[in-house]
């Protein structure tokens, strides 16, 4: 129980240290290859201008060249949308976005027409998205063609109507009749507001801008945090396009914030929140779908160069250092997209070993290599042996002016594994009788060993060895097992206990007799010592030991059945030959034929007897009509008997019954006539 509480305390302590610790990596080749895979249009062209913009923007930020045939097709779609009368402000906005990246040739007249339509849309706008698309479109036109006149007249009025949709908690509603609000909408609102400010004909009222700045700060109060130091915005409502989630909301807020900050000075957002947002986007890794990748890359591109503060990311190319290879600790500091950071110095402040909260303050400065833009620590600090550590770094900017511009984030904690070769010494195996050593053998670990010991149930087996780290300290590995395997396959695993450096296990066979299921014979021994930071973890067969155990008593437990070789269990089984029913013994044919003849004898006897009795056909009617009936009667009976013979030979009951019915009716009619004629004849004879 106490050990369990102790473990929980240790875990909590580690968690608190690990609290603000993780490794973040900047944008890398894996993002580029994912972008190429996700954004290559299947049919050769994009399905909508919105998707086209997302794909082109992501590819541009990542520095990937576009294919020229895609450009032609998309440009055609852009020109069509801009000149079409039925396009609303949303379509125009997306078309202008794509145009900004592809720079298609659009006539000045078409652009002027678009501008006038968008200005109309701004005047008629009621919902947030209307303002967003129309103001956004106008801003895009201004950037793309400086000759066209894009000035917003009633900037104050527009700002006030947008502000009217805001809520007290910093979120924004989409329209006045829809009470649902979202953080995504707030991001869109900031973007629109910054657009209005930059397009305004006359400077906007300062008080209004002040209130809007307060709104942004209020929104940042609702920011949420992960344990590893990333900040994000959660949107529990689904936005207008149906896409919900952390990435879309956080990305929209970052966009709005950076655009707003570019129009006005002094936006008071703490730099750790900006750094946290950067960490959030980097912590996503490589998203699996195109929309998430777009949100991530777009947000990071805005964070790369913004006027609030630019986050600097400290990352380690390798977090596993080997003492054997004398690996040097390397640290990279760059912006989120991987561009070079301003001149700065990196100091290693503290090294925490796993489980301890305190560590001495080191303040070792890392050496900067300008060619590779990497900071290197020449030698690991004193006392860093193999194991798991947390290194705490601090970034110090060389130019004090940069402190306002860049967000470095104070202490950055990174987990590092230091591995090395563990020495195994004094390894020996002994068979003890009582306490006296009967036979002892030295082992070479790790290396080939071929023991051949023998013991009986009254003796003990003792294995001991010493583990030392490269700097000579005792080492406790994750795994130290001794396995005994009987020739039948039954295995027993024992954990090797330790005290400091010294590892020892004693197997007292007297107590283990029942555990071993009373199986005597040859046992193969295998020693396993392993750990994550041990470079030479080994699973070493040591040889065999011949155990002589007493016979099993009646009620002893049986050893568990060994796993059956799957090929024999699921393989083909023995073939079963079908045994047909032995046919009954039939009598020899001669006997059967003899009895056939015998059976016919009584019939012959009957015929002979009839003749002897003097049968005659005198009563057979002579006149024609009764004669025919009589003949038909006898014929009918013969027909029935013939039918029976056919029934036995081949017919089935149903046809027989059908035919019998037919013949039977006929027979009855005929028989009735015949017999009634005979009856009347005999009656006449009697009366006469």
């Amino acid at each position: 129980m106490a050990s369990k509480v102790g473990i929980i305390v240790v875990v909590l302590a580690i968690a608190s240290i690990y609290g603000a610790m993780a490794v973040f990596h900047t944008i890398s080749e894996s993002h580029r290859s994912a972008a190429l895979e996700l954004f290559s249009p299947v049919t050769g062209s994009f399905s909508s201008l919105e998707e086209a913009y997302e794909a082109l923007r992501t590819l541009e930020v990542l520095g990937i060249k576009k294919k020229p045939d895609v450009k032609d097709h998309t440009c055609k779609s852009v020109v069509d949308t801009l000149s079409s009368v039925s396009s609303n402000s949303k379509d125009l906005y997306h078309a202008l976005q794509v145009n900004g990246l592809l720079t298609c040739t659009i006539s000045k007249g078409a652009l002027t027409d678009v501008v006038s339509r968008l200005k109309e849309a701004v005047k008629d706008a009621t919902s947030l998205l209307d303002y967003y698309h129309s103001v956004g479109g106008l801003l895009l036109v201004k950037h793309q063609n400086s000759e066209v006149d894009v000035i917003l007249e009633n900037a104050d009025g527009i700002l006030r109507s947008i502000k009217a949709l805001s809520q007290s908690d910093g979120r924004w509603r989409y329209s006045s009749n829809n009470p649902e609000s979202s953080t995504y909408a707030a991001g869109l609102a900031f973007e629109t507001i910054s657009g209005v400010i930059s397009l305004a004909a006359s400077p906007v009222d300062e008080n209004l801008i002040g209130t809007l700045k307060k709104d942004i700060v209020k929104l940042f109060d609702s920011i949420e945090k992960y344990d590893d130091g990333s900040y994000y915005f959660d949107d529990k409502h689904i936005d207008a396009s149906g896409h919900q989630g952390l990435l879309s909301a956080t990305s929209a807020v970052v966009r709005g914030l950076t655009k707003f900050a570019s129009t006005s000075e002094s936006l008071n957002i703490p730099e750790d929140k900006i750094l946290g947002l950067a960490r959030f986007f980097l912590g996503v890794g490589v998203p699996g779908n195109s929309k998430d990748l777009y949100y991530q890359i777009d947000a990071l591109s805005h964070l790369e160069n913004n006027r609030v503060s630019v986050p600097l990311i400290l990352s380690l190319p390798a977090t596993v250092l080997s003492l054997t290879c004398k690996d040097k600790l390397k640290v990279k500091v760059s912006t989120v997209l991987g561009s070079t950071a301003p001149p700065l110095s990196v100091k290693l402040m503290q090294v925490f070993s796993s489980g301890s909260k305190d560590a001495s303050v080191l303040r070792q400065e890392l050496h900067f290599d300008p060619k590779e833009a990497i900071y290197t620590l020449d030698a690991l600090p004193e006392g860093v042996d193999i194991g798991e550590y947390i290194f705490a770094f601090e970034i110090v900017l060389s130019d004090p002016e940069h402190k306002r511009k860049f967000a470095t984030g104070g202490r950055t904690k990174v987990p590092v594994h230091v591995t090395g070769v563990v020495k195994v010494d004094n390894a020996k195996v002994a068979v003890l009788e009582g306490d006296i050593v009967e036979s002892e053998k030295k082992l070479v670990l790790p290396g080939k060993n071929d023991l051949s010991l023998s013991a009986n149930h009254l003796q003990k087996l003792q294995l001991s060895f010493v583990l030392t780290t490269p700097s000579g300290k005792p080492f406790k590995p994750h795994q130290a097992f001794l396995k005994l395997r009987h020739e039948t396959g039954v295995e027993h695993i024992f954990i090797v206990g330790n005290s400091g450096k010294h590892f020892e296990i004693t197997l007292d066979f007297l107590g283990l007799v029942e555990k071993f299921y009373y199986l005597s014979g040859q046992y193969d021994t295998v020693l396993t010592v392993g750990d994550a930071v041990m470079e030479n973890s080994f699973l070493q067969p040591l040889g065999s030991i011949e155990l002589d155990l007493p016979k099993a008593p009646e009620k002893a437990p049986q050893p568990p059945p060994q796993a059956v070789n799957p090929y024999s269990r699921y393989g083909p089984k023995a073939e079963i030959a079908h045994i047909f029913r032995a046919p009954e013994k039939r009598p020899p044919q001669e006997v059967s034929f003899a009895f056939l003849g015998l059976v016919l004898v009584p019939f012959l006897g009957f015929l002979v007897g009839l003749l002897r009795l003097g049968v005659n056909l005198k009563n057979f009617p002579t006149s024609p009509v009764p004669a025919t009936f009589a003949i038909l009667f006898h014929g009918g009976i013969a027909a029935v008997l013939l039918l029976y013979a056919f029934f036995w030979l081949k017919l089935d009951l149903f046809t027989t019954l059908k035919t019998l019915g037919v013949i039977g009716i006929f027979l009855m009619f005929v028989g009735h006539r015949t017999l009634s004629h005979l009856a009347s004849a005999s009656a006449k004879l009697k009366s006469a």
């Binding site: 059976v599 009584p602 009795l613 049968v615 029934f647 009735h672």
Partner: protein, 116 residues
């Protein structure tokens, strides 16, 4: 003593035989002969089964029952046709014969079905 019983038995047998031959009308003798024929056929079949075993038992049964059944029907016919039988005085013998034929046909249908 034994000789006398033996003689008595013989005398009884002889008188029975002569009475039968003289008094019985011919049609009854025909029927009796038919019955003897049927029963002897049945007996021969039983002897055959006793020798070779009753493997297709249904065939054996159907054969034996056919003979026995037709014998029984013949006996019924004899009873009905016999003029000295007061019970069946009003029954014309042709009617009895028709019954005999019909019952035999039904019996033999069943026998043929069971023969297998």
């Amino acid at each position: 003593m034994g000789k006398s019983t033996k003689d008595d038995a013989q005398a009884l047998f002889h008188s029975l035989r002569s009475a039968y031959y003289s008094d019985t009308p011919t049609n009854l003798k025909i029927i009796d002969l038919y019955v003897v024929f049927a029963v002897s056929t049945a007996l021969i079949q039983v002897v055959y089964m006793a020798i070779v075993g009753s493997f297709p038992f249904n065939s054996f049964l159907s054969g034996v029952l056919s003979c026995v059944g037709t014998a029984v029907l013949a006996v019924c016919l004899r009873i009905q046709v016999n003029k000295e039988n007061k019970e069946f005085k009003d029954l014309p013998p042709e009617r009895a014969f028709a019954d005999f034929v019909l019952c035999n046909l039904v019996l033999h249908l069943v026998i043929m079905n069971f023969l297998g």
